[in-house]
């Protein structure tokens, strides 16, 4: 990646991490409802993949992809307003966390049911093929969600129709308390591609350059009409499943091992190697922190949604 690309990556990874810290704090103060699914450890995967998209491309992220949301143009304020269920939120207060869609930014969030969005994202890719738009759909699933039957059905359709579709399997070693070894007999998720007759690659999901390069390749492959790819990014979920979860089932050594590969630190090192200075990095860190703090403070000044919203739009108006 160029220095300029690395700067963009680093800024978005910092936003994702600071947003996590802010949400964790609010959770501890009981100032937030619902779960807080931190993405700490996943920043290079969500940011590096999303950065490979071009303008007009479409993204269907999952619950630990705030970094991808930031890359695709969600602002910290928009995110904070939705997470904090304030008036003016993009879901009108009907749904939380990343469960929103913003058609202008071509972001289509998830539903809670893991796997359910894969066939939908494939349908979005079908629409691109039919309309010859030239746009590609990037969709995400976890090591746990990848077991759901709908993922298979979506991949059957995407592969047989040779759709412009890329599925990122974010293998962060755990699905809630279930380790990969109890999720699948074959821990190499990219092998699943063989069954669909499509390319599959595994990359180090803490290495922003590896993630970006693999995804860029898959996206251009799809755009050229060659069909879908599965990309497995190996990462570590450095927190509990959500903040209520003490994750004492995760061995300490495993966390220590992955902590040495912290994607935010690794990206900082890459930047230093590209000639960035310590003080540049520090100011980027401060900038991200203050942007998130400002966004949360702003959201906190907003009132709750108007109660009448609860009764609107059950059917499209």
């Amino acid at each position: 990646m160029t220095k300029a690309e690395l700067i963009v990556a680093y800024e978005n990874m910092l936003l994702a991490r600071e947003f996590d810290h802010a949400m964790i704090n609010l959770y501890r103060q009981s100032k937030i409802v619902g779960g807080v699914y931190a993405q700490i450890g996943n920043e290079a995967s969500s940011v590096g993949t999303a950065m490979a998209l071009q303008e007009g491309d479409i993204i269907f992220p999952m619950h630990r992809d705030n970094g991808a949301h930031f890359v695709r143009g969600m602002t910290p304020r928009e995110m904070a307003i939705n997470f904090l269920f304030r008036r003016g939120s993009i879901t009108r207060g009907t749904d939380g966390t990343g469960h929103f869609a913003d058609p202008e930014k071509k972001i289509y969030g998830n539903v809670s049911h893991l796997g359910a969005m894969v066939p939908v994202a494939v349908g979005a890719a079908l629409a691109q093929k039919l309309s010859k738009s030239g746009f590609v759909v990037l969709n995400y699933i976890g090591d746990g969600g990848a077991s759901v039957g709908e993922v298979h059905e979506g991949l059957m359709m995407a592969s047989v129709q040779q759709l412009p579709f890329v599925l990122v399997i974010e293998n962060n070693q755990y699905a809630y308390s279930t380790p990969v070894a109890a999720q699948t007999h074959n821990p190499r998720f990219s092998d699943r591609a063989i069954g669909y007759g499509i390319p599959g690659v595994t990359v180090d999901g803490t290495d922003i350059e590896a993630v970006f390069s693999a995804t860029s390749q898959a996206i251009e492959f799809a755009r050229a009409g060659n069909g879908p790819t599965i990309i497995e990014t190996t990462t570590m979920r450095m927190r509990g499943h959500a903040e209520h979860d003490p994750f004492d089932y995760v061995p300490k050594e495993l966390l220590e091992e992955w902590d040495r590969k912290d994607p935010v630190l690794r990206t900082a090192t890459l930047l230093l190697n590209k000639g960035a200075s310590e003080s540049e990095l520090t100011s980027m860190q401060q900038q991200a922190k203050s942007e998130i703090e400002e966004a949360v403070a702003y959201a906190n000044t907003l009132p709750a949604p108007d109660a009448a919203e609860a009764f609107k739009n059950v059917f499209f108006q």
Binding site: T91, R92, T94, D95, H99, F100, A101, P103, Y108, V111, H113, A116, M117, V118, P119, V120, A121, V122, G123, A124, A125, L126, A127, Q128, L130, S131, G149, E150, E153, G154, M156, M157, V160, Q161, N313, V314, F315, F316, Q317
Partner: protein
């Protein structure tokens, strides 16, 4: 025109008129579908507008949802309505909640050949409409005549909400009537008085509409009663006004459907009628529906569980005698 030809006509008409309409399903292409509802459409519109899929009910309904987010109006076919269980999550979790959560339309239609009476056995005979009635955000349409099959399907395709469209497969080739050619729209949510009467309201939809009319005609012929038959045509949206005005006129109500009894749509109708028109009733509202069992395979057993001229007739007698 037969009921199935009316479906085919509606699909062809909408596909000619609107290039955003495409069909997606299993064996619907060159083969024309298990019931031939899409016969000739692949030859006319090509493989990008009549899309054959692997056996992936969740996959193809999901694909319809996804494409609908990008300006398409997909019409998905379940080979049999029974298989919609495999797409349940896509419909109730994704399609039904999208307008509420995202403020976006999901203009899809899922066509479901449903119903018993053809010895289809437990897995090719279901009437699963009420599962979807319970989920806010879905429309549920059940035509009982060829002309409604056409007019309601056209409305469903043009609707911006996800529509479950239940076609009763026993009606496919057993019903024939005049169907207007070209543009023909029957709005969703408007019931039809299939027979005007004054002594009893027989409220039904879909597969049991011909049965209701047959019984009503028989009672009229024998001079026993003048029965009004209300054809709901869609369950969501529901034409409550039409129901209540008939009930207020006749004061006796039989609710009839082929889906089994317990927590069927009849239960909702009885609740609505007693809530809104209790003072108009001269007898308890009665329900007649299939026996609460899987639909059995052997014709002699199947006949036992389904509503029949005899069972409907005796329910009517009971109400008239009350």
């Amino acid at each position: 025109m037969t009921y199935i030809d009316a479906i085919n006509d509606a699909l062809q008409y909408e596909m000619e008129r609107d290039s955003s309409v495409f069909l997606i399903g299993e064996d619907i292409g060159a083969f024309g579908g298990a019931f031939k509802a899409t016969k000739g459409l692949y030859q006319r519109f090509g493989k990008d507008r009549v899309i054959d899929t692997p056996i992936t009910e969740a996959g193809l309904v999901g694909a319809a949802i996804g494409a609908s987010l990008f300006g398409y109006r997909p019409v998905a076919e379940m080979q049999f309505s029974d298989f919609i269980t495999n797409a349940f999550n896509q419909l109730v979790t994704v399609a039904a909640t999208t307008a509420y959560r995202w403020g976006l339309p999901v203009p899809i239609v899922v066509r479901c050949p449903s119903g018993a009476g053809i010895s289809g056995g437990p897995f090719h005979s279901r009437n699963p409409e009420v599962w979807f009635v319970h989920q806010p955000g879905l429309k549920v349409v059940c035509p009982g005549t060829p002309e409604d099959a056409k007019g309601l399907l056209i409305s469903s395709i043009r609707d911006n909400s996800p529509v479950l469209f239940f076609e009763h497969k026993r009606l496919y080739r057993s019903l024939k009537s005049e169907v207007p050619s070209g543009e023909y729209v029957v709005p969703l949510g408007k019931a039809k008085t299939a027979r005007i009467g004054k002594d009893l309201s027989l409220i039904t939809y879909g597969g049991t509409l011909p049965l209701a009319v047959e019984v009503a005609e028989a009672f009229a012929k024998e001079g026993k009663a003048d029965i009004e038959v209300i054809d709901l045509r869609s369950l969501v949206p529901l034409d409550l006004e039409a129901i209540l005005s008939s009930v207020r006129k006749t004061s006796r109500v039989l609710v009839l459907h082929e889906d089994n009894l317990t927590a069927g749509f009849g239960a909702e109708l009885v609740a609505l009628i007693t809530e809104h028109a209790f003072e108009a009733l001269d007898a308890p509202v009665k329900r007649l529906a299939s026996f609460d069992s899987p639909v059995p395979f052997a014709p002699d057993l199947e006949r036992e569980v389904l509503p029949s001229v005899r069972s409907v007739g005796s329910a009517v007698e009971e109400l008239l005698d009350y």
